[in-house]
Protein backbone atom coordinates (compact mmCIF):
# COMPACT_ATOMS: atom_id res chain seq x y z
CA UNK A 1 0.00 0.00 0.00
CA UNK A 2 1.44 3.33 -0.98
CA UNK A 3 -0.63 5.81 1.04
CA UNK A 4 1.05 5.63 4.40
CA UNK A 5 3.79 3.23 3.44
CA UNK A 6 6.60 5.39 4.81
CA UNK A 7 5.41 5.59 8.39
CA UNK A 8 4.24 1.99 8.33
CA UNK A 9 7.63 0.70 7.21
CA UNK A 10 9.31 2.86 9.79
CA UNK A 11 7.05 1.49 12.54
CA UNK A 12 7.80 -2.07 11.43
CA UNK A 13 11.55 -1.48 11.36
CA UNK A 14 11.46 0.20 14.74
CA UNK A 15 9.47 -2.64 16.25
CA UNK A 16 11.92 -5.19 14.87
CA UNK A 17 14.84 -3.18 16.26
CA UNK A 18 13.28 -3.04 19.72
CA UNK A 19 12.57 -6.78 19.66
CA UNK A 20 16.16 -7.52 18.59
CA UNK A 21 17.45 -5.23 21.33
CA UNK A 22 15.33 -7.11 23.87
CA UNK A 23 16.74 -10.44 22.69
CA UNK A 24 20.28 -9.11 22.97
CA UNK A 25 19.64 -7.70 26.44
CA UNK A 26 18.14 -11.05 27.48
CA UNK A 27 21.40 -12.80 26.62
CA UNK A 28 23.44 -10.15 28.43
CA UNK A 29 21.02 -10.36 31.37
CA UNK A 30 21.55 -14.11 31.58
CA UNK A 31 25.27 -13.45 31.97
CA UNK A 32 25.23 -10.79 34.69
CA UNK A 33 25.45 -11.99 38.28
CA UNK A 34 27.93 -13.01 40.95
CA UNK A 35 29.22 -15.92 38.92
CA UNK A 36 29.47 -13.85 35.76
CA UNK A 37 29.08 -14.86 32.18
CA UNK A 38 30.87 -18.14 32.87
CA UNK A 39 27.60 -19.58 34.11
CA UNK A 40 26.10 -19.20 30.66
CA UNK A 41 29.08 -20.85 29.02
CA UNK A 42 29.14 -23.63 31.58
CA UNK A 43 25.37 -24.10 31.67
CA UNK A 44 25.43 -27.03 29.26
CA UNK A 45 27.62 -29.20 31.46
CA UNK A 46 27.27 -27.73 34.93
CA UNK A 47 23.92 -28.29 36.68
CA UNK A 48 24.49 -25.51 39.21
CA UNK A 49 25.41 -22.98 36.54
CA UNK A 50 22.35 -23.99 34.53
CA UNK A 51 20.17 -23.57 37.60
CA UNK A 52 21.53 -20.08 38.22
CA UNK A 53 20.82 -19.06 34.66
CA UNK A 54 17.45 -20.80 34.40
CA UNK A 55 15.91 -20.07 37.79
CA UNK A 56 17.42 -16.73 38.72
CA UNK A 57 18.80 -14.72 35.85
CA UNK A 58 16.44 -15.59 33.00
CA UNK A 59 13.14 -15.12 34.87
CA UNK A 60 14.46 -11.92 36.37
CA UNK A 61 15.59 -10.48 33.05
CA UNK A 62 12.50 -11.63 31.21
CA UNK A 63 10.34 -10.41 34.09
CA UNK A 64 11.94 -6.97 33.85
CA UNK A 65 11.05 -6.92 30.16
CA UNK A 66 7.46 -7.99 30.88
CA UNK A 67 6.97 -5.43 33.67
CA UNK A 68 8.45 -2.71 31.47
CA UNK A 69 6.20 -3.73 28.60
CA UNK A 70 3.15 -3.55 30.88
CA UNK A 71 4.16 -0.08 32.09
CA UNK A 72 4.90 1.15 28.55
CA UNK A 73 1.52 -0.14 27.44
CA UNK A 74 -0.19 1.51 30.41
CA UNK A 75 1.57 4.79 29.59
CA UNK A 76 0.48 4.74 25.94
CA UNK A 77 -3.12 3.97 26.96
CA UNK A 78 -3.11 6.70 29.63
CA UNK A 79 -1.68 9.37 27.33
CA UNK A 80 -4.17 8.53 24.59
CA UNK A 81 -7.16 8.20 26.89
CA UNK A 82 -6.53 11.42 28.78
CA UNK A 83 -5.18 13.24 25.72
CA UNK A 84 -2.39 14.32 27.95
CA UNK A 85 1.26 13.78 27.07
CA UNK A 86 2.28 13.71 30.74
CA UNK A 87 -0.19 11.04 31.84
CA UNK A 88 1.50 7.91 33.11
CA UNK A 89 0.65 5.18 35.61
CA UNK A 90 2.95 6.73 38.19
CA UNK A 91 1.87 10.36 37.85
CA UNK A 92 -1.83 9.44 37.76
CA UNK A 93 -1.52 7.83 41.17
CA UNK A 94 -2.55 4.42 39.88
CA UNK A 95 0.82 2.88 40.69
CA UNK A 96 0.53 4.11 44.30
CA UNK A 97 -2.99 2.70 44.41
CA UNK A 98 -1.68 -0.62 43.18
CA UNK A 99 1.06 -0.49 45.82
CA UNK A 100 -1.52 0.15 48.51
CA UNK A 101 -3.57 -2.78 47.19
CA UNK A 102 -0.54 -5.03 47.57
CA UNK A 103 0.20 -3.72 51.08
CA UNK A 104 -3.41 -4.28 52.18
CA UNK A 105 -3.36 -7.81 50.77
CA UNK A 106 -0.09 -8.54 52.57
CA UNK A 107 -1.33 -7.09 55.86
CA UNK A 108 -4.60 -9.03 55.67
CA UNK A 109 -3.28 -12.37 54.50
CA UNK A 110 0.27 -12.24 55.76
CA UNK A 111 1.76 -13.27 52.45
CA UNK A 112 5.19 -12.21 51.30
CA UNK A 113 5.91 -10.26 48.12
CA UNK A 114 8.55 -12.90 47.47
CA UNK A 115 5.87 -15.59 47.33
CA UNK A 116 6.44 -17.67 44.28
CA UNK A 117 3.23 -19.61 43.84
CA UNK A 118 1.24 -18.31 40.92
CA UNK A 119 -2.05 -18.31 42.85
CA UNK A 120 -0.53 -15.89 45.35
CA UNK A 121 0.93 -13.81 42.55
CA UNK A 122 -2.47 -13.68 40.92
CA UNK A 123 -4.08 -12.67 44.22
CA UNK A 124 -1.55 -9.87 44.69
CA UNK A 125 -2.13 -8.79 41.08
CA UNK A 126 -5.87 -8.67 41.75
CA UNK A 127 -5.34 -6.52 44.84
CA UNK A 128 -3.03 -4.23 42.89
CA UNK A 129 -5.60 -3.98 40.10
CA UNK A 130 -8.35 -2.94 42.52
CA UNK A 131 -6.05 -0.39 44.11
CA UNK A 132 -5.06 1.01 40.71
CA UNK A 133 -8.69 1.36 39.54
CA UNK A 134 -9.59 3.12 42.78
CA UNK A 135 -6.66 5.50 42.49
CA UNK A 136 -7.39 6.45 38.87
CA UNK A 137 -11.04 7.11 39.70
CA UNK A 138 -10.02 9.17 42.71
CA UNK A 139 -7.60 11.21 40.59
CA UNK A 140 -10.26 11.81 37.95
CA UNK A 141 -12.79 12.84 40.59
CA UNK A 142 -10.34 15.28 42.17
CA UNK A 143 -9.31 16.70 38.81
CA UNK A 144 -12.98 16.93 37.72
CA UNK A 145 -12.24 15.34 34.38
CA UNK A 146 -9.24 15.19 32.14
CA UNK A 147 -9.34 18.53 30.37
CA UNK A 148 -6.80 20.43 32.41
CA UNK A 149 -3.31 19.04 32.39
CA UNK A 150 -2.24 20.85 35.52
CA UNK A 151 -5.28 19.80 37.56
CA UNK A 152 -4.93 16.21 36.44
CA UNK A 153 -1.25 16.03 37.30
CA UNK A 154 -1.70 17.77 40.64
CA UNK A 155 -4.57 15.47 41.54
CA UNK A 156 -2.45 12.48 40.52
CA UNK A 157 0.46 13.63 42.64
CA UNK A 158 -1.83 14.25 45.63
CA UNK A 159 -3.49 10.85 45.29
CA UNK A 160 -0.07 9.25 44.92
CA UNK A 161 1.31 10.91 48.03
CA UNK A 162 -1.76 10.22 50.17
CA UNK A 163 -2.05 6.59 49.13
CA UNK A 164 1.70 6.22 49.61
CA UNK A 165 1.34 7.60 53.14
CA UNK A 166 -1.47 5.14 53.90
CA UNK A 167 0.76 2.35 52.62
CA UNK A 168 3.52 3.58 54.94
CA UNK A 169 1.11 3.62 57.91
CA UNK A 170 0.09 0.06 57.17
CA UNK A 171 3.65 -1.12 56.96
CA UNK A 172 4.62 0.59 60.21
CA UNK A 173 1.63 -0.95 61.99
CA UNK A 174 2.69 -4.44 61.00
CA UNK A 175 6.37 -5.30 61.32
CA UNK A 176 6.16 -8.38 59.12
CA UNK A 177 4.75 -6.37 56.26
CA UNK A 178 7.33 -3.65 56.81
CA UNK A 179 10.14 -6.09 56.30
CA UNK A 180 8.50 -7.58 53.24
CA UNK A 181 7.56 -4.29 51.63
CA UNK A 182 10.69 -2.26 52.19
CA UNK A 183 12.60 -3.35 49.13
CA UNK A 184 9.44 -3.79 47.18
CA UNK A 185 8.27 -0.20 47.37
CA UNK A 186 11.54 1.03 45.88
CA UNK A 187 10.83 -1.04 42.80
CA UNK A 188 12.76 -4.23 42.49
CA UNK A 189 13.17 -6.96 39.92
CA UNK A 190 15.20 -9.11 42.29
CA UNK A 191 12.27 -11.26 43.39
CA UNK A 192 10.94 -12.16 39.98
CA UNK A 193 10.46 -15.85 39.30
CA UNK A 194 8.82 -17.84 36.58
CA UNK A 195 5.40 -17.61 38.27
CA UNK A 196 5.55 -13.83 38.28
CA UNK A 197 6.59 -13.95 34.63
CA UNK A 198 3.60 -16.18 33.81
CA UNK A 199 1.15 -13.82 35.51
CA UNK A 200 2.64 -10.76 33.79
CA UNK A 201 2.74 -12.50 30.41
CA UNK A 202 -0.93 -13.47 30.70
CA UNK A 203 -2.00 -9.97 31.78
CA UNK A 204 0.25 -8.43 29.15
CA UNK A 205 -1.21 -10.53 26.34
CA UNK A 206 -4.73 -9.65 27.44
CA UNK A 207 -3.97 -5.93 27.77
CA UNK A 208 -2.14 -5.82 24.46
CA UNK A 209 -4.94 -7.53 22.55
CA UNK A 210 -7.63 -5.40 24.17
CA UNK A 211 -5.55 -2.22 23.88
CA UNK A 212 -4.97 -2.89 20.21
CA UNK A 213 -8.69 -3.48 19.70
CA UNK A 214 -9.59 -0.22 21.46
CA UNK A 215 -6.85 1.83 19.77
CA UNK A 216 -9.20 3.33 17.13
CA UNK A 217 -11.09 4.96 20.01
CA UNK A 218 -7.88 6.65 21.11
CA UNK A 219 -7.26 7.89 17.56
CA UNK A 220 -10.77 9.33 17.42
CA UNK A 221 -10.43 10.93 20.84
CA UNK A 222 -7.32 12.73 19.62
CA UNK A 223 -9.63 14.83 17.42
CA UNK A 224 -11.61 15.89 20.47
CA UNK A 225 -14.41 14.37 22.48
CA UNK A 226 -17.27 15.76 20.36
CA UNK A 227 -15.75 14.51 17.11
CA UNK A 228 -15.24 11.06 18.61
CA UNK A 229 -18.88 10.99 19.66
CA UNK A 230 -20.02 12.23 16.26
CA UNK A 231 -18.34 9.12 14.80
CA UNK A 232 -20.89 7.00 16.66
CA UNK A 233 -18.50 5.44 19.16
CA UNK A 234 -19.92 4.33 22.54
CA UNK A 235 -17.38 6.42 24.40
CA UNK A 236 -18.57 5.77 27.96
CA UNK A 237 -18.20 2.00 27.78
CA UNK A 238 -14.94 2.20 25.89
CA UNK A 239 -13.44 4.69 28.32
CA UNK A 240 -14.34 2.41 31.22
CA UNK A 241 -12.73 -0.52 29.41
CA UNK A 242 -9.58 1.51 28.75
CA UNK A 243 -9.33 2.58 32.40
CA UNK A 244 -9.71 -1.07 33.42
CA UNK A 245 -6.92 -2.05 31.02
CA UNK A 246 -4.70 0.76 32.26
CA UNK A 247 -5.27 -0.40 35.84
CA UNK A 248 -4.71 -4.06 34.99
CA UNK A 249 -1.44 -3.37 33.20
CA UNK A 250 -0.24 -1.13 36.05
CA UNK A 251 -1.46 -3.53 38.72
CA UNK A 252 0.15 -6.56 37.10
CA UNK A 253 3.50 -4.77 36.91
CA UNK A 254 3.37 -3.22 40.40
CA UNK A 255 2.29 -6.46 42.09
CA UNK A 256 5.43 -8.19 40.84
CA UNK A 257 8.03 -5.43 40.86
CA UNK A 258 6.82 -2.61 43.11
CA UNK A 259 6.77 1.04 42.14
CA UNK A 260 8.85 1.72 39.06
CA UNK A 261 8.60 5.31 37.91
CA UNK A 262 8.80 6.93 34.49
CA UNK A 263 8.95 3.85 32.26
CA UNK A 264 5.28 4.39 31.43
CA UNK A 265 5.85 8.09 30.78
CA UNK A 266 8.99 7.83 28.72
CA UNK A 267 8.18 4.85 26.48
CA UNK A 268 5.40 6.42 24.38
CA UNK A 269 7.42 9.65 24.07
CA UNK A 270 10.48 7.84 22.84
CA UNK A 271 8.37 5.90 20.34
CA UNK A 272 6.69 9.06 19.07
CA UNK A 273 10.00 10.79 18.62
CA UNK A 274 10.95 8.06 16.15
CA UNK A 275 7.71 7.25 14.37
CA UNK A 276 4.38 9.05 13.96
CA UNK A 277 1.65 6.49 13.87
CA UNK A 278 -1.82 5.42 14.98
CA UNK A 279 -2.47 4.22 18.51
CA UNK A 280 -2.74 0.58 17.42
CA UNK A 281 0.96 0.61 16.56
CA UNK A 282 1.89 3.10 19.27
CA UNK A 283 0.49 0.79 21.95
CA UNK A 284 2.48 -2.16 20.63
CA UNK A 285 5.69 -0.19 20.12
CA UNK A 286 5.41 1.46 23.56
CA UNK A 287 5.18 -1.98 25.13
CA UNK A 288 8.31 -3.09 23.26
CA UNK A 289 10.06 0.14 24.23
CA UNK A 290 9.04 -0.14 27.89
CA UNK A 291 10.29 -3.72 27.97
CA UNK A 292 13.65 -2.78 26.50
CA UNK A 293 13.96 0.24 28.84
CA UNK A 294 13.27 -1.64 32.04
CA UNK A 295 15.44 -4.57 30.98
CA UNK A 296 18.31 -2.17 30.33
CA UNK A 297 17.67 -0.39 33.64
CA UNK A 298 17.65 -3.75 35.41
CA UNK A 299 21.04 -4.62 33.91
CA UNK A 300 22.39 -1.25 35.04
CA UNK A 301 20.98 -1.80 38.53
CA UNK A 302 22.75 -5.17 38.73
CA UNK A 303 26.01 -4.01 37.26
CA UNK A 304 26.64 -0.44 38.51
CA UNK A 305 27.74 -1.27 42.05
CA UNK A 306 28.34 -5.01 41.59
CA UNK A 307 28.59 -7.27 43.53
CA UNK A 308 25.85 -5.32 45.30
CA UNK A 309 22.84 -4.13 43.38
CA UNK A 310 20.57 -1.10 43.25
CA UNK A 311 16.78 -1.34 43.33
CA UNK A 312 15.81 -0.87 39.69
CA UNK A 313 13.20 1.73 40.71
CA UNK A 314 16.02 4.00 41.82
CA UNK A 315 17.70 3.72 38.42
CA UNK A 316 14.50 4.47 36.48
CA UNK A 317 13.66 7.35 38.82
CA UNK A 318 17.01 9.03 38.19
CA UNK A 319 17.09 8.38 34.44
CA UNK A 320 13.36 9.02 33.95
CA UNK A 321 13.40 12.18 36.06
CA UNK A 322 16.19 13.53 33.90
CA UNK A 323 14.24 12.66 30.78
CA UNK A 324 11.12 14.40 32.10
CA UNK A 325 13.13 17.54 32.84
CA UNK A 326 14.58 17.51 29.34
CA UNK A 327 11.09 17.04 27.90
CA UNK A 328 9.76 20.02 29.88
CA UNK A 329 12.72 22.10 28.79
CA UNK A 330 12.13 21.22 25.14
CA UNK A 331 8.38 21.93 25.36
CA UNK A 332 9.03 25.28 27.01
CA UNK A 333 11.46 26.18 24.24
CA UNK A 334 9.14 25.12 21.44
CA UNK A 335 6.34 27.17 22.99
CA UNK A 336 8.56 30.24 23.10
CA UNK A 337 9.30 29.92 19.43
Amino acid sequence: MTQTGGQRRRALMFGATLAALAALLLVVGAGIGSSGFDSVLAARDDAVAWQIVRDIRLPRTLGAWLAGALLGLAGALAQGLFRNPLADPYLLGSASGAGLGVAVALALFGASPAATHWVLRLGLTGAAFIGAVGAVLLTLALARGVQQTLRLLLAGVIVGVVLGAITDLLTIASADVLQALQGFMLGSTGLLGWDACAVMAACGALCLAAGWALAPVLDSLALGEATARSLGLPLGAMRAALIALLALATGAAVAQTGLIAFVGLASPHLVRSVVKTTHARLVLLSALMGGALLMAADLLARWLIAPQELPVGVVTAVLGGGYLLWLMHRRARSELR
Binding site: G5, G224, S230, G232, K276, T277
Partner: protein, 257 residues
Protein backbone atom coordinates in the same frame (compact mmCIF):
# COMPACT_ATOMS: atom_id res chain seq x y z
CA UNK B 1 -33.69 13.61 -1.64
CA UNK B 2 -36.52 15.96 -0.77
CA UNK B 3 -38.34 16.87 2.39
CA UNK B 4 -36.89 17.82 5.74
CA UNK B 5 -33.44 16.58 6.72
CA UNK B 6 -33.29 18.02 10.21
CA UNK B 7 -36.00 19.41 12.39
CA UNK B 8 -35.88 21.02 15.82
CA UNK B 9 -38.97 21.62 17.96
CA UNK B 10 -38.91 23.78 21.07
CA UNK B 11 -35.24 23.02 21.64
CA UNK B 12 -33.63 24.46 24.76
CA UNK B 13 -30.03 23.87 25.77
CA UNK B 14 -27.73 24.94 28.58
CA UNK B 15 -24.02 25.57 28.76
CA UNK B 16 -22.52 25.61 32.23
CA UNK B 17 -25.93 26.05 33.88
CA UNK B 18 -26.96 29.02 31.71
CA UNK B 19 -29.65 28.57 29.11
CA UNK B 20 -28.21 29.58 25.73
CA UNK B 21 -30.92 28.29 23.38
CA UNK B 22 -34.47 29.43 24.17
CA UNK B 23 -37.03 27.37 22.31
CA UNK B 24 -35.64 26.85 18.83
CA UNK B 25 -38.04 25.74 16.08
CA UNK B 26 -36.31 24.99 12.82
CA UNK B 27 -36.79 22.81 9.76
CA UNK B 28 -33.87 22.40 7.37
CA UNK B 29 -34.72 21.25 3.85
CA UNK B 30 -32.88 18.23 2.48
CA UNK B 31 -30.59 18.71 -0.49
CA UNK B 32 -29.93 22.33 0.38
CA UNK B 33 -27.07 24.30 1.85
CA UNK B 34 -28.06 26.38 4.86
CA UNK B 35 -25.79 28.77 6.72
CA UNK B 36 -26.30 29.76 10.33
CA UNK B 37 -25.12 33.30 11.07
CA UNK B 38 -25.38 35.79 13.88
CA UNK B 39 -23.30 37.84 16.31
CA UNK B 40 -20.89 36.25 18.81
CA UNK B 41 -22.74 34.43 21.56
CA UNK B 42 -25.93 34.00 19.51
CA UNK B 43 -25.88 30.23 20.19
CA UNK B 44 -24.93 29.12 16.66
CA UNK B 45 -22.36 26.50 17.62
CA UNK B 46 -24.56 25.24 20.44
CA UNK B 47 -27.46 24.82 18.03
CA UNK B 48 -25.24 22.90 15.61
CA UNK B 49 -24.10 20.59 18.40
CA UNK B 50 -27.68 19.97 19.49
CA UNK B 51 -28.68 19.22 15.89
CA UNK B 52 -25.79 16.74 15.67
CA UNK B 53 -26.93 15.02 18.85
CA UNK B 54 -23.77 15.98 20.73
CA UNK B 55 -25.31 18.07 23.50
CA UNK B 56 -28.07 17.24 25.97
CA UNK B 57 -31.15 19.36 25.37
CA UNK B 58 -34.87 19.68 26.00
CA UNK B 59 -37.32 19.56 23.11
CA UNK B 60 -37.14 17.32 20.08
CA UNK B 61 -34.66 16.95 17.21
CA UNK B 62 -35.66 14.75 14.27
CA UNK B 63 -33.16 13.49 11.73
CA UNK B 64 -34.82 12.42 8.45
CA UNK B 65 -38.15 12.41 10.29
CA UNK B 66 -37.02 10.07 13.05
CA UNK B 67 -36.25 11.30 16.58
CA UNK B 68 -32.48 11.59 17.01
CA UNK B 69 -32.58 9.42 20.13
CA UNK B 70 -33.98 6.50 18.15
CA UNK B 71 -31.00 6.37 15.81
CA UNK B 72 -28.25 3.97 16.76
CA UNK B 73 -24.90 5.69 17.21
CA UNK B 74 -23.49 4.03 14.14
CA UNK B 75 -26.45 4.73 11.84
CA UNK B 76 -26.50 8.35 12.95
CA UNK B 77 -22.77 8.68 12.36
CA UNK B 78 -23.19 7.30 8.83
CA UNK B 79 -26.02 9.72 8.06
CA UNK B 80 -24.61 12.80 9.76
CA UNK B 81 -21.07 14.11 9.67
CA UNK B 82 -19.99 16.83 12.08
CA UNK B 83 -16.97 19.13 11.90
CA UNK B 84 -16.30 21.00 15.11
CA UNK B 85 -14.26 24.07 15.94
CA UNK B 86 -10.62 23.49 16.78
CA UNK B 87 -11.08 19.88 17.85
CA UNK B 88 -7.50 18.95 17.10
CA UNK B 89 -5.95 22.19 18.27
CA UNK B 90 -4.92 20.80 21.66
CA UNK B 91 -2.20 18.85 19.92
CA UNK B 92 -3.39 15.39 20.87
CA UNK B 93 -3.67 14.45 17.20
CA UNK B 94 -0.28 15.90 16.24
CA UNK B 95 1.30 12.49 15.82
CA UNK B 96 -1.36 11.09 13.51
CA UNK B 97 -0.65 11.34 9.80
CA UNK B 98 -2.97 13.27 7.52
CA UNK B 99 -4.10 10.01 5.95
CA UNK B 100 -4.85 8.42 9.31
CA UNK B 101 -6.88 11.46 10.39
CA UNK B 102 -8.97 11.41 7.20
CA UNK B 103 -9.45 7.64 7.60
CA UNK B 104 -11.12 8.31 10.97
CA UNK B 105 -14.04 9.64 8.93
CA UNK B 106 -14.60 6.05 7.83
CA UNK B 107 -15.02 4.72 11.39
CA UNK B 108 -18.85 4.70 11.11
CA UNK B 109 -18.60 2.49 8.02
CA UNK B 110 -15.97 0.06 9.21
CA UNK B 111 -16.45 -3.16 11.07
CA UNK B 112 -14.61 -3.25 14.34
CA UNK B 113 -10.96 -4.26 13.77
CA UNK B 114 -11.49 -4.69 10.03
CA UNK B 115 -8.83 -3.25 7.72
CA UNK B 116 -9.98 -0.32 5.54
CA UNK B 117 -11.87 -1.51 2.47
CA UNK B 118 -11.36 -0.31 -1.08
CA UNK B 119 -14.38 1.96 -0.65
CA UNK B 120 -12.82 3.46 2.49
CA UNK B 121 -9.56 4.19 0.69
CA UNK B 122 -11.39 5.67 -2.29
CA UNK B 123 -13.50 7.93 -0.05
CA UNK B 124 -10.43 9.12 1.86
CA UNK B 125 -8.46 9.83 -1.31
CA UNK B 126 -11.39 11.67 -2.86
CA UNK B 127 -11.90 13.76 0.30
CA UNK B 128 -8.20 14.62 0.67
CA UNK B 129 -7.95 15.56 -3.01
CA UNK B 130 -11.01 17.78 -2.78
CA UNK B 131 -9.34 19.87 -0.05
CA UNK B 132 -5.92 19.67 -1.75
CA UNK B 133 -4.45 17.80 1.20
CA UNK B 134 -3.61 14.58 -0.66
CA UNK B 135 0.02 15.55 -1.23
CA UNK B 136 0.74 15.67 2.50
CA UNK B 137 -0.98 12.40 3.31
CA UNK B 138 2.14 10.95 4.94
CA UNK B 139 2.90 14.00 7.11
CA UNK B 140 1.92 14.19 10.77
CA UNK B 141 -0.79 16.71 11.60
CA UNK B 142 1.59 18.47 14.00
CA UNK B 143 3.76 19.66 11.12
CA UNK B 144 0.95 21.53 9.36
CA UNK B 145 -0.10 25.17 9.62
CA UNK B 146 -3.52 26.13 10.98
CA UNK B 147 -5.07 26.41 7.52
CA UNK B 148 -3.54 23.17 6.26
CA UNK B 149 -4.76 21.41 9.37
CA UNK B 150 -8.27 22.76 8.80
CA UNK B 151 -8.26 21.35 5.26
CA UNK B 152 -7.35 17.92 6.67
CA UNK B 153 -10.13 18.09 9.26
CA UNK B 154 -12.52 19.14 6.51
CA UNK B 155 -11.44 16.12 4.47
CA UNK B 156 -12.07 13.94 7.54
CA UNK B 157 -15.66 15.22 7.68
CA UNK B 158 -16.12 14.76 3.92
CA UNK B 159 -14.74 11.22 4.05
CA UNK B 160 -17.79 10.12 6.05
CA UNK B 161 -19.80 10.61 2.84
CA UNK B 162 -22.86 11.34 4.96
CA UNK B 163 -26.18 12.63 3.62
CA UNK B 164 -25.95 15.47 6.07
CA UNK B 165 -22.89 17.59 6.85
CA UNK B 166 -22.82 19.92 9.85
CA UNK B 167 -19.79 22.21 9.91
CA UNK B 168 -18.85 24.72 12.57
CA UNK B 169 -16.63 27.50 11.24
CA UNK B 170 -15.21 25.42 8.37
CA UNK B 171 -13.38 28.48 7.00
CA UNK B 172 -11.29 29.06 10.15
CA UNK B 173 -7.68 29.79 9.15
CA UNK B 174 -8.34 29.23 5.43
CA UNK B 175 -6.82 31.64 2.92
CA UNK B 176 -9.14 33.21 0.27
CA UNK B 177 -8.51 30.64 -2.51
CA UNK B 178 -9.25 27.77 -0.15
CA UNK B 179 -12.32 29.59 1.17
CA UNK B 180 -13.54 29.75 -2.43
CA UNK B 181 -12.75 26.03 -2.81
CA UNK B 182 -14.74 25.24 0.30
CA UNK B 183 -17.72 27.25 -1.01
CA UNK B 184 -17.53 25.31 -4.28
CA UNK B 185 -17.40 22.03 -2.35
CA UNK B 186 -20.45 22.93 -0.27
CA UNK B 187 -22.31 23.99 -3.41
CA UNK B 188 -21.38 20.77 -5.22
CA UNK B 189 -22.53 18.66 -2.26
CA UNK B 190 -25.91 20.41 -2.18
CA UNK B 191 -26.26 20.06 -5.94
CA UNK B 192 -25.59 16.34 -5.56
CA UNK B 193 -28.53 16.11 -3.17
CA UNK B 194 -26.68 16.23 0.16
CA UNK B 195 -27.66 18.56 2.94
CA UNK B 196 -25.07 21.02 4.22
CA UNK B 197 -25.43 23.12 7.36
CA UNK B 198 -22.60 25.52 8.18
CA UNK B 199 -22.06 27.97 10.99
CA UNK B 200 -20.14 30.88 9.49
CA UNK B 201 -18.74 34.17 10.68
CA UNK B 202 -17.74 35.03 7.14
CA UNK B 203 -21.00 36.57 5.88
CA UNK B 204 -19.99 36.57 2.22
CA UNK B 205 -19.46 32.83 2.30
CA UNK B 206 -22.72 32.40 4.20
CA UNK B 207 -24.61 34.38 1.54
CA UNK B 208 -23.45 31.86 -1.09
CA UNK B 209 -25.69 29.25 0.61
CA UNK B 210 -29.25 28.53 -0.47
CA UNK B 211 -30.73 29.70 2.81
CA UNK B 212 -29.69 31.61 5.90
CA UNK B 213 -30.68 31.07 9.51
CA UNK B 214 -30.09 34.36 11.32
CA UNK B 215 -29.67 33.96 15.08
CA UNK B 216 -29.36 36.36 17.96
CA UNK B 217 -29.54 35.91 21.72
CA UNK B 218 -30.24 32.17 21.58
CA UNK B 219 -33.22 32.57 19.26
CA UNK B 220 -33.80 32.40 15.53
CA UNK B 221 -34.50 35.87 14.20
CA UNK B 222 -35.08 34.86 10.61
CA UNK B 223 -34.87 31.85 8.29
CA UNK B 224 -35.09 32.53 4.57
CA UNK B 225 -33.43 32.34 1.16
CA UNK B 226 -30.09 34.10 1.04
CA UNK B 227 -31.23 36.33 -1.83
CA UNK B 228 -34.35 37.60 -0.05
CA UNK B 229 -34.60 41.22 0.96
CA UNK B 230 -36.18 40.10 4.27
CA UNK B 231 -33.10 38.00 5.03
CA UNK B 232 -30.80 40.93 4.36
CA UNK B 233 -32.97 43.11 6.58
CA UNK B 234 -32.65 40.51 9.36
CA UNK B 235 -28.86 40.54 8.95
CA UNK B 236 -28.78 44.32 9.29
CA UNK B 237 -31.01 44.07 12.33
CA UNK B 238 -28.97 41.48 14.30
CA UNK B 239 -25.70 43.23 13.53
CA UNK B 240 -27.08 46.58 14.80
CA UNK B 241 -27.28 48.07 11.33
CA UNK B 242 -23.51 47.72 10.95
CA UNK B 243 -23.60 45.65 7.75
CA UNK B 244 -24.96 46.35 4.29
CA UNK B 245 -25.68 43.69 1.65
CA UNK B 246 -24.96 44.44 -2.00
CA UNK B 247 -25.23 42.43 -5.16
CA UNK B 248 -22.01 42.22 -7.15
CA UNK B 249 -22.28 40.17 -10.35
CA UNK B 250 -23.74 36.80 -9.43
CA UNK B 251 -23.16 36.99 -5.70
CA UNK B 252 -24.32 38.79 -2.63
CA UNK B 253 -21.71 40.47 -0.47
CA UNK B 254 -22.03 41.86 3.02
CA UNK B 255 -19.83 44.81 3.95
CA UNK B 256 -19.20 46.25 7.40
CA UNK B 257 -20.40 49.79 7.68
Amino acid sequence: MSGIALQARAVQAELGGTEVLHGIDLALAAGRWTSIVGPNGAGKSTLLKVLAGLLPHRGEVRLFDQPLGQWSGRARAQALSWLGQGGASEGAADDLTVYDVAMLGRVPHQRWLAAPSGADRAAVECALRSTQAWDWRDRPLGQLSGGERQRVLLARALAVEAQLLLMDEPLANLDPPHQADWIATARALADAGRTVVSVLHELNAALAADALVVMTGGRIAHHGASGDEATHAALREVFDGRVVVHRIGQQWVALPH
